[in-house]
Structure formats: C-alpha cells, structure tokens
Amino acid sequence: MAANQTVAKPSLKQIGLSEDTLWGLYYYLMKTRLLDERFRKMFRQGRYAGTYFSAVGQEACTVGAVYGLRDEDIIGPSHREIGAAVTKGIPIKEMVAQVFARSTSVDKGKTHPCHYGSRAKGVINPASTVAGQTVVATGCAMAFKIQKKDNIAVAFFGEGATARGGWHEALNYAGIHKLPILFVCQNNLWAESVPARLQGAIEKFSDRAKAYGFPGVTIDGNDVVEVHKTAQEAIKRARAGEGPTFIECMTYRWYGHSEIDPADYRSQEELDTWKKKDPIPRHEKLLTDLGILTPQKREALVEEIDQEIDEAVKFAEESKYAEPEEAYRDVYSENFPVRRDEY
C-alpha cells in the first residue's frame, strides 16, 4: 500500500490534500480564469451592456475557499467573486446569460453583470452596496445556528469593505454568537483607486478579527493550496460550532476595477511583481511536479472548458432579452400585484 507509490505520495502527504482535490482546485481555477478572460474580451467587443468586474489574478482566493462546500452552504459574494460562483457550481450558461442580461438568466436581466447568484447552488445574488452580502450571509449563519443545521456561510469582500459600518456589525454579531461563518477578505491592495492604507490604519486586516473575538489569519491568496487548507480548517471549526474565522487572502487584481478603469493609479512595477505570482502557473507547477498534470491534460482541459464557454455564449447570445412586462415580475409574491402605470 505504500511501497509502490514512493515517488509521488510523499509530496501529496506533505501537502495534505488528495489528488482529486488538487485537480479539482485546478479545474475551477482554469474555469474561472478562462471565463473571466472571455467576459473581458466580449466586453471590449461590445457584446454586452453595463460593465464588467474582472477577478483575474485573484482566482485562488475564491476557488480555494469554496471548493468542497455543499449546495446548502451559503456564499455571500460581492462584485468580484466570479470564482466563487463557478466553484459553487453555478452553470456557466447561467452566468453568461446573466452577464448578457437575457431572459434565460436567472434574474432575467434585472440586475447587472457579475451579480451571479443561485438559490439552488446557495449563492446570494448580490446587491452592490459594498459589504452588503457580508451582513446577509451572517444572517444565514444565524439561521443555521437556530435551525441546528451544520451548514455554514462564507462571506467574501475586499479590504475596502472592512471600512463599512454594516461589515462591522455583522462580524461583531458573528463573534458574539459564534456563528458558523467564514469571512474571506480578498485584499487586492486597492479599492477602485484607493490604496489599502486609506481603508484602515492596520498592517493586517485579519487583525480586526480580534476586535470580534475570533481568529484571523493572513495568508498568500495566490496559493490555492494554502487557501483551501486554511478554509477547510475554518469550515471544520464552523461546522463544529466553534465560531467564525477571518481569512485575509493577499492577492491582486490584474486589470482595472471594472473594464472601463485604466487603473493608472498603480505602478507598472507593482503589477509586474504580482503578475509573476499568478496563482495558476504556480498550481500547475505543483501538479506537474506531482505528476498530476501534463501538457496534454492541460490542453484537453482548456479545450473542454472553452467549449463549455462557447456553448454558453452561444446560448446567451441566442437568447432574447425579456419582454418589457418582465419589469413587473418578482416585485412581490403572487399575493400582491404591482400597480401598473398608464403611459
């Protein structure tokens, strides 16, 4: 059981994750990256309206934290959580339809690109108020506790969100009641054009956890293995009723805040440094070293994902916008019809 695996096994054991998991993480990293880059490209081609928030460079934070969650676990995302949506299992088709705001999207075009959500997959459709879903996700965790379920919630936010009052109230409450929740901060150094030092006079944002009575850690957000293992540990604690954990993932967004932001407030040097820390080649190297990945496998995977995206794009582009009447739907339950305007 041990002798014939001496080449790869030791490292896997060291890493502490299974081959399946390592591959699963890779799969979602790739899927997130390829979808994200496709969205960017299509935005520049003018193929959909609004704007687009890319998370390229940050994939390890979301993929690592979300991989392995159950459908009933709840994600409270913000605007830069494409990776969480993908990894939690929202079908690519739904996501593309959402960005294209078509009638085939779950929200039927009502919101805004990048506001992915799915009840079936336990992802809260985001509102835009920064840290909004941190509060709501904490409420889900409160419910799980009352319901005596071992579901958990994972709230994602940027370092900028930690300056918001609602964010504080949520973490404070979660600490008092030891709620089953992970607070995952994607610290990408910038909130739009504003550097992290103007969001809080603190070295590590994870230290804020102390103010709420639960542990916080700052980790390399571009190392999907570290993120995943840290999250798994925190999830175990949460499911066991031991309360929240604050995980600050240091990372970087490669592109502008949204696609219309040239991001010229940052230095080229800073960008270059971080591009070198791309989470994907890093994980690929590990997989390659472990013998899990080969160039052929990679190619096959890219092809598979690209095809899925192609189909999804085709589906979305062939879908119509909803009829104007759709505007009147889903305001209330069927108990309350909306007052119609005359003109």
Partner: protein
C-alpha cells in the same frame, strides 16, 4: 372574545405565531428578559428561549440585514426596531436588500420578514422618539407597509405579515399601545394586507387616515355629527399596497375628501392618496382634496405646546372638513 389592548394584541400575535411555526424568531434590542422597552415581547424569551428571542447588540444594520439572510434560508424573522427614529441605520438593508432580493434574483430568493417598528408622537418623545418615517418605505416597491390603529388589526395584520412571503414594515403606534382596547376573538384570525376598513359610514365627506390619526378623525367625526355632518371614515391600515378601490368608491360617493397624516406634510403618504384621487376620479370631486398633516418641521419638537401644535387633532380636522364642505 377577550378585551385586549393594542400592545397585548401584538404580544399575543407574536406568541401564537411562534407557537405555530418554529421558523419564526425575533431579534432586537432589549426584547429578551426585559421584554422590550414597551413590554411588547414580555415573557416571550422565557417561553421560547434565547435562540428564538434574541437580545441584539445595538446594531440596526445587522438586526435587519441579518434577518434578510435568515429569511432567505427558511426562517420567518421578526426583527424589532426599538424606535422608528433608529431605523435610519438600517436603511441600506431594508431598501437595497430586503425590498430587492426577490427582484434581483428573478424570484429565486424571497424575504418573508416582518420588521416591527415602534413609532409615532403624542407621547412626549421629542425629536428622536416620535418619528414614523413611513414615507420612505411607502415609496419602495418590493416592501409591504402596514400600520394598524386597533387591537384587532394589530393582531390580524401582524399575523398576516409573519405568514406572508414578502418583507413587511409593520408600524406599531406607541401612543395606542395602552390607550385603545377592544374585544377581539380568541380564535386564530388574520387581517388581509392591502385592504382598508370603513370605520364609520357617512355620506357628506370621506376622511382617510391611518394609525393614531384614525382616532383623531373619529373624534372629529363625532363632533361633526352633532352639526349634522356624516363623515365616512376610512382607516387605510395598509399603506403599501393601499386600498385604492375602497377610497375611490367612498370619494365617488361623498365627492369630498380630507386626508389626515401625523407626519410632516410635504412628501407624505397622503400626497400620493390625494394625487391618485385627482388622477383617477377627478370628475367626482366637488372640492379640493385637502390634507391635514404634521407641520413642515422636523417631527417633532418636544415641549408639550410645541408637540401639540405640530400634530393634527380633532379640532384641526373639523376645521378642514368644514372648509371643504363649504367649498
């Protein structure tokens, strides 16, 4: 039947709904052991435990926002805002989350939540313990807004709200807590949301009001009756949606309307009622639809003469009715 005050009606509705459905829970400041600053939740924590009657920290944003999340995953939260004045810190959660989660998710997620808000003046509360702020929610599609004026409605509307599938802002008027009392059924009953109530039939003029103002209007109607004027008094009860049909029918009959609102006049609920009457049944009107409202100053100054001056009362309503009748 049981002789019941407005606040007892609220307490018993909460009690019964928590008994009926274990997904109902409450969170708010001082609602636990203390039983709420007005004792509306008295005894509930003892009966249902600390997990279902939660003393929250002073965190209105969380109180509401957390309940949105809980509602989304199967609970029926009944958060309490201790005073309507302190609903401001939770505006984001009410407007951007509760009111819109159904809409923005294409109906996937819902928010069956009842925010109890203790509100209103004539209790010597001054600038920061007398507010209502109902107009903010009244103008937000996706929310339901109600304000009972009787114990029967207080109980029946609260039950409807808790059992419903939409976020409800339930305004309870603190001036009415112990000042109104009536016989109400001991059996389970609900009051439908969206329906007004005719409190007194009349043919000369329609008076529309809600909350405390129904009682002021009733006083006015009693005075006017002695002058041979019969007032048709409508209690809106539900503000959003409001019962357009009943109000329009009444005004079609009387051709005259006075609208009474406790809050500041400009931009209040009665502006909409007036505008809608004009828009929809203009031809029936024999006189301008006229509002009697709180003053256009911050609601409301504390000193007794100032509070009195701010608020509509029977006298002011009588004056307005007479003027409209003379028109």
């Amino acid at each position: 039947m049981k002789n019941t005050t407005y606040i007892e009606a609220i307490t018993s509705a909460l009690y019964e709904e928590m008994e009926r459905d274990e997904s109902v829970f409450m969170i708010g400041e001082d609602i636990g052991l203390y039983g709420g600053v007005f004792k509306a939740t008295k005894g509930l924590q003892k009966r249902f435990g600390e997990e279902r009657v939660i003393d929250s920290p002073i965190s209105e944003a969380y109180i509401v926002g957390g309940c949105v999340g809980a509602a989304m995953v199967g609970m029926r939260p009944v958060p309490e805002i201790q005073f309507a004045d302190f609903i401001t810190p939770s505006m984001d959660q009410i407007i951007q989350q509760a009111a819109k989660i159904r809409y923005r998710s294409g109906g996937q997620w819902t928010c069956p939540m009842t925010v109890r808000v203790c509100c209103g003046g004539e209790v010597g509360g001054g600038l920061y313990h007398s507010q209502i702020n109902e107009q903010w929610f009244f103008s937000q599609p996706g929310l339901i807004v109600v304000m009972p004026s009787t114990p029967y409605d207080a109980k029946g509307l609260l039950k409807s709200a808790i059992r419903g599938e939409d976020p409800v802002i339930y305004f309870e008027h603190k001036r009415l807590y112990r000042s109104v009392k009536e016989e109400i059924p001991e059996d389970d009953f609900t009051v439908p949301i969206g329906k007004a109530a005719i409190r007194r039939e009349g043919k000369d003029i329609t008076v529309v009001a809600y909350g405390l103002m129904c009682h002021k209007s009733m006083e006015a109607a009693n005075i006017l009756e002695k002058e041979g004027v019969t007032v048709e008094l409508i209690d809106m009860r539900s503000l959003l949606p409001w019962d357009r049909e009943m109000i329009f029918e009444s005004v079609k009959k009387t051709s005259r309307a006075v609208l009474v609102q406790e809050n500041t006049k400009t931009g209040g609920v009665m502006a909409e009622v007036s505008a809608s009457i004009t828009e929809e049944i203009f031809d029936y009107l024999d006189a301008p639809v006229t509002r009697v409202c709180g003053l256009d100053v911050p609601m409301l100054p504390f000193a007794p003469p100032l509070e009195h001056y701010f608020l509509p009362n029977a006298e002011k309503i009588v004056r307005a009715v007479r003027k409209v009748l003379e028109y």
